[in-house]
Amino acid sequence: MSDVTFSVNESTFKAVFNKAYPGKKLNFNESGSKVLVWLGVEGEIHIEGAGGIEFEDGNTFLLKELEIGWDKLILRLGLDVPNVEIGKFCLLRMPRSIPFWGDAPFLGDECLVEFPGVTLFTGKPDIGPFKLNLNAIIPYIVTEIGGRYFIYINKEKDSSGKFYQMVHAKPTAVDVDPISISDTMGKLPAIIQGGIYYAASQMIKYIPQTWMVDVVLSFLGFPTLTAFLLDLLDIHDDVEDWLMDVLNVSIGIDNVLYQLIFQEMLESKELFKIEDPYPFIDAKTLDVSDFGGYKTTPAGSTFELPAITAPVTDAAVEFAEDNMFIRFNFGI
């Protein structure tokens, strides 16, 4: 039997856990790419707390749902407009029968000379990056994060220099599901439309005359630059689906969040702490005249009584019977 036993149930543990992650803002900046599209995302989240905690026997617990709050989400898009070649056609086909070309590696009617054509754009006709500020749709983003943590107790010094037996929770695994975005009530389509308009206006700067725009569009096969860019970005009717695909697949935001949260939780402060040495009687200031028998009588009217303490030994923490137990002995 240990000298001292403390235990905490799941709900209190959860409350303490949630106080240990005080909503520090975590920034990330990640990029990815799709065909012809460069994607970047800037974001800021904070951990709001655990939605559900389940103790496992031993020293691990499951964090069923880690709630995070989004503070910022900005998507950056850059487009590598394809350098379309036009006017390429077969100028001269292989004559069907030429006696002295018997060993020619051509079949009759095969193209022998191709008209070279031209490219629509010179250099790299890249657009952007331009930003889509997605803060307005943050309430519609669902992020499901879970994880398994282990707890341990360790003697450590805090910032004031005092030593404690500190109980920490460290992640062994964090699972971040791909984020989902429900119907954004028209907000996301409006944001995307604004962004595409900007991109189209950037592109149109490269094309000085209206007839040139229409000739370019005839080659691209789209009625408008907006339609072309939407197609280039692979944005179709369901923009929420598109954004989910961009964030989850192209950016791999689940992995970004995983890294961010894992790191943050590795660096998190302790959940519980027990003073070591353990004070039975705290240090205090007392009047000299109320006591006697000093080794050396204090000079002033008061003196500082040092804390009466005992070292903590055999400190252990574990989960059992839906409680977290901290046990320790006094080294006296």
């Binding site: 149930n9 409350a15 009687i281």
Partner: protein
């Protein structure tokens, strides 16, 4: 069930008492000091200084810093005695035992073994009183010295008349929910002393009055303070600001069982 639970064993408490006895002797030694005269090189009386007279010697604390050995008590007066009298009360040994009792052997006057949820305690308490010189009690003026004695704050002695009492007691914890206003619940923790026995003290009336004093001390101070300390330590170890309340609906909370003092709390993490 409760949010938080804390338990401490009687063995641990016993070691804490023993350790504290060594490190903080002033908590176990209560002395109304006497005085002694200070003479100059020519043998003339020039001053007085306090003299902390005890029945048993008290070692200095091994701790660094200023740790006194005695807690000052006020000397008492007796009618007809023109000077106050020094004394000492020393707790030489103290023990606490939680159900099932396995540390303290209770005297035959008290029921044994301990009932469930009961604790027992024992203490060896040494009392020392000053003996008053005949000359002083007869109010015979003593030339020179007598004039000084009348003005002394306490009787100068170098030793006390000592006797030792062995005290045994048992009881249980009581909790009375109260409302201290503003709808704030409050658990008043008390002590129901089942019995107390002072070994080998006569007459009965003296035993009764000493028992009365000891029960009052136990009820108002020793055990409630121990429980509150445990409650405080449980909460403090959460490392957070919390509000706590004894968990209601449990048959015994705090409980004294399996050699432990146990407490269950409902907390609200703020």
């Amino acid at each position: 069930m409760s949010d938080v639970y804390g338990a401490i064993s009687d063995d641990a408490i016993q070691r804490i008492i023993n350790d504290t006895h060594v490190k903080a002797p002033f908590l176990f030694n209560y002395v109304a000091p006497s005085i002694r005269f200070v003479q100059d090189d020519a043998g003339r009386l020039v001053d007085t200084e306090e003299l902390w007279v005890t029945c048993s010697p008290v070692e200095d604390s091994p701790l660094d810093g200023e740790v006194p050995r005695f807690t000052r008590m006020q000397p008492f007066s007796l009618p007809g005695i023109p000077v106050k009298l020094p004394y000492c009360i020393q707790i030489i040994d103290a023990a606490l035992d939680f159900h099932p009792g396995n540390i303290i052997a209770l005297p035959p006057e008290l029921p044994s073994p301990l009932s469930e949820q009961n604790f027992s305690m024992s203490a060896m308490v040494q009392f020392g009183m000053a003996c008053i010189p005949d000359k002083l009690s007869a109010l015979q003026p003593i030339p020179n010295l007598a004039k000084h004695v009348w003005r002394l704050p306490v009787l100068p002695v170098t030793e006390l008349v000592c006797f030792t009492l062995n005290v045994f007691a048992f009881g249980r914890v009581t909790v009375t929910p109260e409302n201290i206003g503003a709808g704030i619940p409050f658990d008043r923790i008390g002590l129901a002393v089942g019995g107390i026995e002072i070994v080998d003290i006569e007459p009965r009336g003296l035993e009764n009055v000493v028992e009365c004093y000891l029960i009052a001390m136990l009820k108002s101070y020793v055990l409630p303070k121990l429980i509150l300390s445990l409650e405080d330590q449980v909460v403090k170890s959460l490392g957070l600001t919390v509000t706590s309340k004894l968990t209601a609906g449990l048959p015994d909370n705090p409980a004294i069982e399996e050699n432990e003092l146990r407490i269950w709390l409902d907390v609200k993490v703020i």
